[in-house]
Symmetry: C2
Subunit: 500 residues, 2 copies
């Protein structure tokens, strides 16, 4: 894999100086075309062996480009805010918006490689990480991101020579640390791990580009030209660009049976039973979220349901049991301008709670496979791929200790109509019924199909959907509260079990 | 100050239950009116003595309101990201957007009070903090924020009684800590410090509201009704709301002399001298930003100047000397939708660098007193107040170790015309000249006046403006680089001096 990169590629000074002015002009033009169209972003990953010129090359690239539209981020030790969230959270924070170029040092490859070299990561766990990375990068490229992955390589001898040279100059001596020499001793092992990682994460959409790091002019031109070619290729495709399409069809529904229709939506519950249960469950939830067990977890609640299904009312019965300092309710409507400039899930990642906290989503990332699918706000390819992306997202949350509880509040067509009419006649403005609400009612069968697909494809062992029979609000609220308490208790028990 | 709050106010259960339903309905209506108009936000500060019902009252308020549009934040130990920035950074991050209600526990009052009680803060430093808080809150209210400050009070005996009661119940025992009892012993001192702080930060626009914390129904109603009245009052004023106006006029200019016209804009510099100086200064800057001295600082560079003054070119000569991992260039254009929903300076606070990093603003917060003033994008009252707000902002930066260097790149009318014409004929898209650029030229005298006022009012001892004679690009770039190096060296020397 590194054979070509050990040939000692060189570019003559004269050839270099003849080429650079034109390359710079073309890079700048391409960068400004990117800025003007702002239909995609470029993410450049910079990885490789120590002293192979990663920093120098990026500095050079920044000289050639307009640095005002390049966002460079180097990741070192995670901050306290980052440590309490899924590992990918800090990379999501650093993604560039459409129109910009992001350069990421010490990115999502750094930790798995380093830990595997140090034998702190089992082979099987590494495989899992790489599979996650592949899915994450596939999501990025499908979102239109141009992803360039550069691996800067040096042979063992060349690395040693470079270290010696840096050490001999008082101005650069500080750059060679004890860690560098320690790493040098592990050169062979790092080499093998890197080769494995690169081989398993080189994909058609985002192949690794191995850069021979021994000559500064060679590596500068290689990276510059690669970037230029990638920019030009995408700019030329322009608005005709489409993510790779899946041709797999959704299975047909052969009879009228589905998980929603099997539900008995109207469940009786007396006012007395409700009051009693509500108090008991709110007390239980209050104790659960205030106790010590919760400090190793966070709680992510997702509420979906047709209009007027009672999401708001259910949420209020939960927040009434929580300390206001612990939770945030995030109502999801149309994305903002900043959110639209980033991959779809970015707007949800930004609200991921830290440990000991609760985030309640009133509508959520499932909008993509519900309203956006039904209304045609996104392409079929977009919502088809959303199922796996959502599963990965929720996996990342649960892996970081989050308890994810998802509710579909199911009401009948007749009950929705009754509630709409009651709202239309209510004196309070907070229950406005819009024309859109009435229009959505006409699409009931389409929504029903979308909901059933969603449940089939995103109800997983760790993040199952809970269907709530919601024609009776009392029954629905009690079932919601009980489910949350049970899921939290199960998570605490599992935690204790893991410790014991 | 606390006399009325020690009377033991109580509300009967019957009266309470008679009033609450109507209060809730009105609060919800007002909250939804706020959400609909989205022309202002509400910030509620919650402070006071321990066990006076702060948390309970906010929980109750959240029950009454729609929690989806309330953002509650409790501030405890600052995170590592927060510690490396000015103290107010974390509060700026937590400000609610227009249309929302933000509840802030442990806000900007917490630290000064606690430190003064513990005698870790001198009286004179406390006074300075309070003056800063007053100016910050004045800025908030002028930005249209409805600021409600609640102080929850208990007499010493009432506090002791409350602690005993909490300790006697196994379900609430955990809430009383050793720290609480330690604080209790200092009750008298806390009382005196709080009285002093409250007296000096109670203003006409944002007075403190003292809440007798001994009865839960009383304090709930008091806070609920206060919030309702504040919301209604502002909603009724509607779009007629204006921040308090200053009637002070800007002084007239009696002759044609001003700081810009005194400059000799065209300074000769040979290509040879330029190349030599450029290399020398870039090397000096490279060493300065990579050395140990920089780890206690950050660098904030501000570039302002007429169109085509050479800001971009000067910035590129700086970034060429910096490691790409260290800096961000932030080009400032029209604010995004999310930025428009928050106080003016929010969009700049979000880019404040942590220690060891550089942020370069290509145009900046000075837009308010330049383009926004000249084009009438904001009211006179808005740009008049911006001078002091900007000075406070930059003070906050320098207090946290930032070196703030501000450049005005001055070119002559003739030189701008020549550059515009050259650009109009250039083949590269990156130098587009728009109709707006030509229109702005016609307003040259208005801009000149605005620039002179800006320099007079915001050139301070710690953050002076550096005027750059920029008709000759070489001279301008060298002066910019030299100024940055000198300012950094001065800061490092001062740091060493302070240590010695």
């Amino acid at each position: 894999m590194f054979e070509s990169a050990e040939l000692g590629h060189r570019v003559d000074k004269d050839d270099y100086e003849a080429e650079v002015p034109e390359l710079r002009a073309q890079l700048l033009d391409a960068q400004f075309d990117l800025l003007d169209c702002a239909t995609f972003s470029v993410v450049i990953l910079v990885n490789g062996v120590d002293a192979a010129g990663k920093g120098e090359t990026v500095n050079l690239l920044n000289e050639w480009l307009d640095p005002r539209h390049v966002v460079t981020r180097a990741f070192d030790v995670p901050s306290s805010e980052e440590r309490e969230r899924p590992v990918m959270w800090r990379f999501w924070r650093a993604l560039p918006p459409k129109g910009k170029i992001g350069v990421l040092f010490g990115n999502w490859y750094e930790y798995p490689i380093r830990e595997r070299v140090g034998k702190r990561l089992k082979r099987s766990v590494l495989e899992q990480r790489l599979a996650e990375i592949n899915r994450f990068e596939e999501m990025l490229t499908r979102e239109g991101v141009v992803l360039l992955k550069f691996w800067f390589h040096l042979s063992k001898d060349a690395q040693k020579e470079r270290f010696k040279k840096l050490e001999s100059d008082p101005l650069t001596r500080w750059r060679v640390t004890k860690t560098d020499w320690r790493n040098y001793k592990q050169y062979a092992r790092r080499h093998d791990v890197a080769e494995h990682v690169l081989r398993h994460t080189s994909t058609a959409e985002a192949p690794w580009i191995i850069v021979d790091g021994s000559d500064d002019r060679y590596r500068g031109l290689l990276v510059g030209r690669t970037l230029l070619a990638a920019l030009r290729k995408r700019l030329d495709i322009g608005t005709r660009w489409k993510p790779r399409l899946s041709t797999a069809p959704m299975p047909p529904q052969l009879d009228g049976r589905n998980v929603l229709r099997e539900l008995t939506l109207d469940r009786p519950m007396s006012k007395r039973d409700y009051d009693h249960e509500l108090e008991r469950l709110q007390g239980r939830l209050a104790v659960l979220t205030r106790g010590n067990g919760f400090s190793a977890h966070s709680l992510v609640l997702v509420f979906e349901g047709m209009d007027a299904a009672g999401k708001g009312g259910a949420i209020r019965r939960i927040t009434a049991a929580l300390d206001a300092r612990l939770y945030q309710v995030v109502p999801i409507a149309a994305p903002s301008e900043e959110e639209r400039a980033l991959p779809y899930l970015w707007r949800f990642w930004r609200h991921v709670p830290r440990r000991g906290k609760v985030t309640i989503f009133d509508r959520s990332w499932y909008g993509r496979v519900l309203v956006e699918r039904v209304e045609g706000f996104c392409s079929e390819a977009d919502w088809m791929r959303a199922y796996e992306e959502i599963n990965d997202f929720e996996d990342a949350l649960t892996s970081a200790g989050a308890v994810v509880v998802k509710f579909w509040l199911a009401i009948s067509d007749a009950e929705q109509l009754a509630r709409f009419e009651a709202r239309a006649n209510a004196p309070h403005k907070r229950f406005k019924i819009t024309d859109e609400d009435w229009r959505n009612r006409e699409k009931w069968p389409l929504y029903e199909r979308a909901v059933c697909d969603m449940i089939d494809r995103t109800s997983t062992e760790t993040t199952p959907w809970t269907l709530i029979e919601a024609d009776n609000k009392r029954y629905a609220r009690i079932k919601v509260l009980r489910t949350i308490c049970e899921r939290l208790e199960a998570a605490f028990d599992a935690q204790k079990g893991a410790k014991a």
